[in-house]
Symmetry: C2
């Protein structure tokens, strides 16, 4: 595994712009180290980028993605803090399960659309 990635390497790998990566840094989602002014992204940043993009695909805002990523980093803390995280995890889970149900429902409806199209096509072949 590489020690560092340049910004352009990552823009190519993930098909995003430099602006986007700098924006994510401004938002505190990634923290590349610097050699002079130049950003050097570590493997851990690369993982974070994957998580960010996954969150985006699911329609989460940057703020929500930040919340999720914060959970991942949390462990050491006192009981109250830990319980808050557990609550946060549970509420994200509820949200994700809803999204999953939404997906299943949509997939089922798309199946119906396809069936209707296939039937219509079959009819066309017979009728013609």
């Amino acid at each position: 595994m590489k020690d560092f990635y340049t910004i352009t390497e990552l823009t190519r790998e993930f098909d995003i712009s430099t602006r986007t990566l700098r924006f994510y840094e401004d938002e505190g989602l990634v923290k590349p180290v610097r050699r002079g002014r130049t950003r050097l992204f570590r493997p851990s940043d690369r993982v974070l980028i994957k998580q960010i993009l996954r969150g985006k695909r699911l329609g989460f805002s940057i703020a929500e993605i930040r919340d999720i990523i914060e959970m991942y980093k949390s462990p050491p803390g006192e009981a109250g803090q830990l319980n808050k995280i557990i609550d946060g995890v549970e509420s994200k889970r509820v949200e994700l399960r809803q999204k999953r149900k939404d997906i299943e429902d949509t997939l089922a409806e798309l199946d119906q659309v396809e069936d209707a199209c296939m039937n219509r096509l079959a009819e066309l072949r017979v009728t013609s």
Copy 2:
């Protein structure tokens, strides 16, 4: 089932604003009939609103939601048209399956977070 719903009834049911419903009308997603100037939404509009909100939860843009909804309405058409719809359905399916995988991955990671928190809490109880 009611014949019509007023805009306020629907804003209450779905917890959205009148502005949002008018915006959806401007975007051609719903087509309430009018009594004078007042909008009257039919049960079919209500179903459309559910589909729109479901699409939003999944992170689809209004344009994408419109595309999906168009598929639902499509059946009668000639072969070329029908095949295009089938292609559209298939590509949406690919996208939805990706989202579903993203959800599973995120859920698994959240499980890990919870486990870590629980372990830490157990340690705290022993250590103290």
